[in-house]
């Protein structure tokens, strides 16, 4: 109804979620499990939030070392912290 009407207005989504990619990855990892219809969107949301936090962390690390460029060691350190946080 209204959903279709609104979607037709804007056909090109700017930040598209790679739904196929996510589904494929999940299927490869857990072939015995099934993913619901809109769950991959939430997985995408989860990834976005994770990357956002990772980027923030990396940026903070780079700023701490007063580096103008984010280097892999910053990323690595940030990743360690983040993976610990998002252990679930």
């Amino acid at each position: 109804m209204a959903v279709a009407a609104t979607i037709s207005q804007r056909k090109r989504i700017k930040r598209k979620a790679p739904r196929g990619f996510l589904r494929r990855v999940f299927k490869r990892q857990k072939p015995h499990l099934r993913l619901e219809a809109t769950c991959d969107l939430l997985v995408h949301l989860n990834c976005l939030l994770f990357i956002r936090r990772l980027a923030e962390e990396a940026r903070t690390d780079a700023c701490k070392t007063k580096c103008g460029i984010i280097k892999d060691q910053h990323v690595l350190a940030a990743a360690k912290v983040m993976l610990k946080k998002s252990r679930g």
Binding site: V3, G68, D72, R87
Partner: protein, 585 residues
């Protein structure tokens, strides 16, 4: 008419009948009734007329004025006629009557109206004698009838009036047949008269409703020709697998045969193929078009200059039906080498290749070489045959560049062939038999059994998978890497700082680990809930445990903040008009 007034004010049917009998003896009971009706023109007791009035009202609707004007006479007549009347006659009269009906009708006209009604019914009863009584009265309505016919054909408003009008119309027409030999049943003559009246009203109906009018049939002839033309073009250009039949001349025979899943043995097919051979032009066209098509995807691999050569070579081959592989091999590319074989095999094959080409275009464009090779070992009979032929060509041709072309051509064809259903393969086999000797050899190979032809192909197919295997894992990694790089780009956006490439690679590694963890967690949550399907609740629990969703910040808030509108609408149930909620819960 005998006006025998009834002494009593309440004339009953019985009394009326008795009166009629007294007056006129040699009459049929029906006639008697009609005559009685005619006799009863004289006003009878009020109750009788009132009864008639009510009856007429029920039948005709509103026409009190009319009833009164007509008088009991009409009522009586109608009543008497109503007895004999059937719904059919009523409807006929209604249809006949002109729509126009004036409330004010001269009594002179009104009075004769019932008379025609009486006449009509009496005629139905095949009683011309009764008509005689009312002949003098018909003269008046006759003048009215044509007027009714010619008057507008608007919808009737008052049933009774139309009914009477219809009677008027019917009566004058029926007069002729009445005078004719009385052998004709009243109904038949009446029907004939009715038919006459029907003629005129029907025409305006069709005019009023153009949808009912039939369309001109001339369109058909033209369409067929154009249709065939289009079909030919489509079969040449973008023929779908199911559009085999359209190809007109040569293709028709072969194509039709192709469409049959369980076609006759090749022997039976050979004549058709032979028959198809004398149409090299068409095949050449098709082959040329196919070459263009195949060259299109092949352009990625081959040089653009080849298609022209291929086309030329193909046309020559087709015309000559020369199965000489050396000839073809000497030609430009392996595709040419493949071409003669295909041409030898039959135009059907070519057609199929065309279609397959069209289908496999996208596939080839996507770098289907590897995938095609992967599909080759699927042991399709067609593939086997094609591969066998190609393999023969390959052996003769020098390897290297030609081999590449062969592989390209082969995968193209092979990939195309597997796409077709098994029936196609069977069709391919059966109508395959080529005419030339060399082709005949192949045909012999093909005809007996696909297995035989597949045997020589096995070594060839065995060769192909080795190449495929090397290419396949690359694709998988690529797609996975592509997905990860998609998120890595987002990382660089969120960081708002320049990044090194190594840092991006590190991000991708982290993402990989993150995905693995995510899947494990979801698995655990779903198993904990006793489910095998991961649901939204699992995701929400995961985010809660990660600390993203708190008592303050709900999942919906996060969705609204970070996802585009389209996804938001899919995830968050919203109420719409009509008491509906999307998405449905």
């Amino acid at each position: 008419m005998a006006d025998s007034d009834i002494s009593d004010n309440e004339p009953t049917t019985r009394t009326l009948l008795r009166r009629v009998l007294d007056t006129e003896a040699p009459r049929t009971p029906r006639r008697r009734q009609s005559t009685r009706a005619g006799v009863q023109r004289t006003p009878l007791g009020t109750p009788f007329s009132m009864r008639l009035r009510s009856q007429t009202k029920t039948t005709a609707g509103r026409q009190p004025h009319r009833a009164r004007s007509i008088g009991r006479l009409a009522h009586i007549q109608t009543r008497g006629q109503l007895k004999e009347q059937t719904p059919r006659t009523l409807l006929e009269n209604i249809l006949l009557t002109a729509p126009e009906s004036s409330m004010v009708m001269p009594e002179s006209a009104v009075k004769p109206v019932p008379a025609p009604q009486v006449v009509q019914f009496s005629r139905r009863e095949s009683s011309p004698g009764s008509l005689e009584l009312q002949l003098p009265e018909l003269n008046a309505p006759t003048t009215l009838a044509p007027g009714r016919l010619t008057s507008g054909r608007r919808k009737k408003r008052l049933r009774l009036s139309e009914f009477q009008q219809g009677m008027d119309q019917g009566l004058p027409l029926s007069q002729g047949p009445v005078t004719e030999p009385p052998g004709n049943t009243g109904a038949s003559s009446l029907s004939s008269s009715l038919n006459l009246t029907f003629a005129t009203p029907l025409l305006p109906q069709s005019v009023q409703r153009p949808g009912l009018a039939r369309r001109p049939p001339t369109r058909r002839a033209v369409d067929v020709g154009i249709f065939l033309q289009d079909l030919q073009d489509t079969s040449v250009a973008t023929a779908l697998p199911g559009d085999r039949t359209p190809v007109a001349t040569l293709p028709t025979d072969t194509v039709l045969e192709d469409t049959q899943p369980f076609s006759q043995p090749l022997i039976g097919r050979s004549p058709s193929v032979h028959h198809s051979l004398p149409y090299p032009s068409l095949s050449a066209e098709r082959t040329v078009s196919r070459r263009t098509r195949s060259s299109g995807p092949g352009l990625q691999n081959n040089s653009p200059g080849k298609p022209a050569q291929l086309l030329a070579g193909k046309a020559e081959e087709v015309d000559a039906l020369a199965m000489g592989f050396p000839n073809t091999s000497s030609s430009t590319s392996g595709e040419d080498g493949v071409e003669p074989l295909l041409g030898g095999v039959g135009e059907e094959v070519e057609e199929r290749m065309e279609e397959s080409m069209s289908l496999s275009e996208v596939k080839e464009a996507a770098g289907a070489q590897a995938s095609a090779r992967a599909e080759e070992p699927e042991a399709h009979t067609e593939v086997a045959e094609a591969e066998g032929s190609w393999g023969a060509i390959e052996e003769k041709e020098p390897e290297g560049s030609s081999r590449d072309k062969d592989t390209e051509a082969r995968p193209e064809l092979a990939s195309s062939t597997p796409e077709f259903p098994r029936a196609r393969q069977l069709e391919f086999l059966e109508p395959a038999p080529p005419t030339s000797t060399a082709v005949g050899l192949f045909r012999q190979q093909f005809i007996p059994a696909p297995s035989l032809s597949s045997e020589p192909l096995e070594p060839l197919s065995a060769r192909l998978p080795t190449r495929v295997q090397t290419a396949r894992p690359r694709l998988r990694q690529d797609s996975y890497k592509m997905g990860l790089s998609h998120y890595a780009k987002l990382f660089s956006f969120y960081a708002k700082m320049p990044m090194e490439k190594k840092a991006l690679e590190m991000v991708e590694k982290c993402l990989d680990k993150y995905f693995q963890r995510l899947c494990d967690d979801l698995d655990v949550f779903a198993a904990h809930a006793g489910r095998k399907t991961v649901r939204l609740e699992d995701l929400e629990l995961l985010m809660r445990r990660q600390g993203l969703v708190t008592d303050r910040v709900s999942l919906h808030v996060l969705v609204e903040q970070h996802l585009p509108l389209e996804y938001r609408q899919l995830l968050i149930p919203c109420a719409f008009s009509g008491n509906t909620v999307f998405p449905a819960q």
